[in-house]
Symmetry: C2
């Protein structure tokens, strides 16, 4: 993203745009975008608030980058599943597993991406909503395909895709690494739920 050598921090130190984003993400997740100050973010990195402006345009830009990265990752994983082929049920399973895995393994990203959409300025919000919509429609397309070949019996692909996506999104709110189920268990189980819901009659 920058013209500096990959993986290097800026000369001798802790302060790189990537670290700033990480610190910001953690604070946004914990206390909300609006409640987080530039001084908070700087403080997490051992500098004062104004020092961040050498590497970051604005607080809003940090939020935009965090949420965009989240949606782009999700869409990239979905594209991989589509490219790999397989029956509708197979693709649904893989898609739900990737979706849930992401929401469990990147709780803060997912959480901020969902809660702070309205903290985005309207142009950016529109862009993000378009990406979300595309993500949902791709899932819906696979459901419709499965219906066409009688692999699924759901009557309303739109409601089914919302239900499947939303249950996965919820994982970001309750999942804990120290909890009774690990990421793989949850991902597998939710994929089963999705297929069950689609094949029931």
């Amino acid at each position: 993203m920058t013209s500096e050598p990959a993986g290097a921090t800026t000369r001798g130190g802790a302060l790189a745009p990537e670290h700033i984003r990480d610190a910001a993400l953690h604070l946004f997740a914990g206390k909300g975008y609006r409640a987080t100050t530039m001084e908070d973010i700087g403080s997490a990195l051992g500098v004062r608030g104004p020092s961040l402006y050498r590497l970051v345009r604005s607080k809003q830009q940090l939020l935009v980058e965090i949420i965009s990265a989240t949606m782009n990752t999700l869409l990239a994983e979905q594209r991989q599943v589509m490219a790999a082929g397989g029956s509708p049920a197979t693709r649904i399973r893989r898609m739900v597993e990737a979706h849930v895995r992401f929401h469990a393994a990147n709780r803060e990203q997912a959480f901020v991406g969902n809660r702070e959409i309205d903290s985005l300025e309207s142009d950016d919000r529109r862009k993000i909503l378009r990406l979300r919509s595309r993500y949902e429609r791709t899932l819906r397309t696979v459901i419709e395909e499965g219906r066409t070949i009688d692999e699924f019996r759901v009557e309303n692909p739109r409601l089914a895709s919302f239900a499947i996506l939303d249950m996965g999104i919820g994982v970001a709110t309750w999942f804990r690494d120290a909890g009774p189920n690990d990421v793989s268990q949850v991902a597998y189980t939710y994929a089963e739920y999705a297929v069950a819901l689609l094949t029931a009659g």
Copy 2:
């Protein structure tokens, strides 16, 4: 809740605590708790910000009342379902229908209740989280009961109850009165999904 005559507004006018809460709810839903000012709320009711303090203790108190009311309604409906009896599958269906119906018919309440939990001061937040937890555990209990009598085959009641609840919560984010499905359709369909997910094997 107050000692004034039920249904009456305070002497000649638009300003009653209930109206203030309604206006606040709408604004909190639209732009977030922290981005909403007392002046905004007053403005929606035709008064200046400071005038609200005659009827309201603080902005925080408005949020507490809104979120508490939401959870209490949800819990009351759940208790009714439990009191009415029926097989686990019947109770699950009714519970999911009530849950979804509430989230579709009271989108703003549900939305604010979910997004602004971290805007509550810690004592209030704890109280609300306890209520949510109780709500979830009651659903889980019914799932476990259904497993005991072999009505359900799910292996993990905890994951199943999270999945069912979270898909219903999602309804508050995408449902529109002008959309292709009405509240009853969505409630019925989601109840089907829940049962499908619980009985699949």
